[in-house]
């Protein structure tokens, strides 16, 4: 610290004391170097804090952007505003209760969080082969519907952030059809906790398949409407083509997966490269673009929605020919209650309550043991990944042989993909920052967990 700055600080401390008591100053850095560097730079150098509360920051994302005129010279992302300690909380609940927590991470794609977590727990339990086929098909059906819903939100909010309100209204209108299906099947529009270790919470209610079948043509028409509105729209093309460029090398280095990776021309999709949940039995393509820009990502998402609807149709066909249980047979693991959807969401069915409270003491004991204590998982660790709408969603779970996860860690694609924010924005225009973030499609609930 030079003589002069010390003087300034001394005076200000003295003044402050006179005014309103002692003040604390941040110090310790070599400020001279920073001040000199700032002074030597262009005089129009401005640091702008966008967010964490900003209509186009895509959730509580803080963007620290250094500007030279309209050009971005440095861009940093600040995250953590939505950190809720989901992973820590899961260590204090049973393995089954963990679903209730992880479904809240990426709240736009909750069924992927649930399925990935359950696949990991099932791998630890060694019961992957025992999961009933019907439960697996229901999982696929729900995940693919959810993928369409998630991509619709990506396009809708992305459009809104560019100022295109109609894109938003169409996107959310179409997603509503999917949420209505989810509400009918799981009782809730989000935070379902529907997929459970061992299967799913409940079989499809009567009429669910018909509702899915009715929705598919409407969804196709709605997505077509979005395509006609966006694909060749000169404003959209002007804002998105060659903007937020990130090529294959960049994606590899930064661990970027999902539509962003596929917009560089690499057809990497875990459903094809490492199939889980029987994806090898479905016919679908992996859409790619080779433009590496925001426009390519938008088109990849559009195309993926059609592919997902193809899978949903196939899953619906399979479900009609696949009766059977939706929960693993092992009574030491299977959730004992038979659930039903009531006016307030999903809960124990009245039949089950009648059985445990009125007729069978053994059923009551069994229910009580499994629900309060939970099942034990043999010690060890597992990593299972699924292709979520944002990319590779990986779950690393460790068990110490107890009834609770010893450690659960989620490799969230939103979190990893957001690292590319700086690489995509620096050197571009301020207006393109919004496009870049929208094309990453981060969901902050997943980023921060």
């Amino acid at each position: 610290m030079t003589e002069q700055t010390r003087d300034i600080r001394a005076t200000s401390v003295a003044d402050a004391k006179d005014d309103e008591g002692a003040h604390v100053y941040a110090g310790g850095g070599d400020w001279d170097a920073i001040v000199d560097e700032a002074a030597s730079l262009h005089e129009e150098r401005i640091v702008v804090n966008m967010g964490p509360q900003h209509p186009s920051s895509h959730g509580v994302l803080r963007m620290i952007i250094e500007l030279d005129g309209e050009s971005v010279t440095e861009a940093k992302a600040g995250v953590g505003y939505l950190h809720t300690g989901i992973e820590k909380s899961m260590e204090f609940r049973t393995w089954t209760q963990g679903v209730t927590f992880c479904t809240r991470m990426d709240y736009v794609a909750p069924l992927f969080n649930e399925t990935a977590y359950c696949l990991a727990v099932e791998n630890l339990l060694g019961i992957t082969d025992q999961i009933p086929e019907r439960a697996t098909i229901i999982r696929v059906l729900m995940m693919e519907l959810n993928r369409v819903g998630s991509h619709l939100v990506a396009l809708a909010t992305g459009g809104l952030e560019l100022g295109a309100t109609t894109v938003m209204t169409i996107g959310f209108r179409e997603r509503e059809r999917i949420l209505a299906i989810f509400e009918m099947i799981t009782g809730l529009r989000m935070n379902h906790a529907y997929v459970r270790p061992g299967g799913v919470a409940q079989d499809l209610p009567p009429g669910a398949i018909d509702k899915v079948r009715d929705a598919i043509p409407l969804l196709r028409r709605g997505i077509g409407e979005l395509e006609r509105l966006l694909n060749e729209n000169p404003i959209v093309r002007g804002r998105m083509v060659n903007v937020a460029y990130l090529d294959l090398t960049g994606c590899m280095a930064l661990g970027v997966t999902g539509p962003m990776l596929r917009s560089t021309g690499l057809p990497h999709d875990l459903r094809k490269s490492d199939p889980y949940c029987g994806y090898e039995n479905y016919e679908f393509d992996v859409p790619v673009r080779d433009t590496c820009d925001a426009y390519g990502r938008m088109r990849v998402r559009m195309d993926e929605m059609y592919e997902s609807l193809k899978i949903v149709e196939q899953a619906a066909d399979k479900l009609q020919n696949t009766p059977g249980p939706v929960m693993v047979e092992d009574k030491k693991i299977a959730w004992p209650a038979q659930l039903a959807i009531g006016s307030d969401g999903m809960g124990n069915s009245l039949d089950h309550i009648r059985e445990i409270m009125g007729t069978s003491m053994e059923s009551l004991i069994h229910h009580f043991k499994l629900v309060t204590e939970g099942f034990r998982v043999p010690p060890g660790q597992a990593y299972v990944a699924v292709e979520s709408p944002k990319g590779e969603l990986g779950v690393h779970v460790v068990s110490d042989g107890g009834t609770r996860p010893y450690r659960a860690h989620f490799r969230e694609p939103s979190f990893n993909n957001l690292q590319a924010f700086s690489a995509m924005c620096e050197g571009g225009q301020l207006g393109d920052v919004i496009v870049a973030v929208a094309s990453i499609d981060p969901v902050m609930g997943g980023v921060d967990r």
Partner: protein, 240 residues
């Protein structure tokens, strides 16, 4: 059963050089209750928590190939395979390679650069805290993916003692690990030496402590409902 039955003479003969499972904890009792008289007798139960033992060749699947190629790729590097690799565990169809912490960077570089290995994607690092494992309390677990070789996966595990929480950063090999290492520093207090800017990822910069360590309390609060109080989750009975 008398105590004599547990003498080593009475145990079945050891199977050649089969490695022993790793004891990571010893658990007493059954229902988590430590107060009051033990009328059930379960309080005297002593169980070892056993993690899978080191695997013996052949590992099966493509795991042998990975081990062979890694051994070859490390020749001429800073450390040989025997020096760098502590043990290999194959469990539930997944391969975990325990790497000595001073050699993690070299092993990561070999795994990325060798054409036969080519793990071009690092899917982040996840921390884990085992307070009972004296001298190796903190684990950093890396998940690697090779798209080139058809989606092969391997897991690297590095340990460090709690009183010397340093692990070399692999950001220079896998830039994707930048935020992940910051996350693991934030939550577990592992210092990744050589990381370009190791600051907290999620918690505020002036936060004290590292929340996902086992010695950091959950901080639950009791909830009152219709006159009764529900204790916070960390104070409820646990069954392990």
């Amino acid at each position: 059963m008398s105590r004599d039955d547990e003498t080593p003479d009475n145990l079945p003969a050891a199977q050649g050089a089969t490695p022993e499972p790793v004891v990571i904890d010893v658990r007493q009792g059954m229902f988590g209750a430590s107060d009051g008289g033990d009328t059930s007798g379960f309080g005297g139960l002593v169980t070892n928590v056993l993690f899978p033992a080191a695997a013996a060749r052949p590992y099966g699947g493509y795991f042998d190939e990975i081990a062979d190629q890694l051994e070859r790729a490390l020749v001429g590097g800073s450390a040989s395979y025997a020096q760098a690799i502590e043990r290999v565990v194959v469990d539930r169809g997944e391969m975990t390679v325990f790497v000595a912490r001073e050699h993690i960077l070299g092993v990561a570089r070999a795994l990325r650069d060798d054409p036969a290995l080519r793990f071009e994607m690092c899917l982040g690092v996840s921390g884990a805290h085992y307070p009972q494992e004296t001298g190796r309390e903190l684990h950093a677990v890396y998940h690697l993916l090779s798209i080139t070789n058809g989606g092969r996966r391997v897991r690297l595990e590095v340990t460090c003692p709690d009183d010397d929480r340093h692990i070399p950063s692999i950001v220079e090999v896998y830039p994707a690990n930048d935020w992940n290492e910051r996350e693991t520093w934030d939550f577990f207090g592992i210092v990744f030496d050589g990381h370009p800017a190791l600051t907290r990822m999620f918690m505020p910069d002036d936060w004290q402590g590292h929340p996902q360590r086992k010695d950091y309390p959950l901080g639950g609060i009791p909830v009152e409902y219709k006159g009764a109080t529900v204790p916070p989750p960390d104070e409820r009975r646990k069954y392990s």
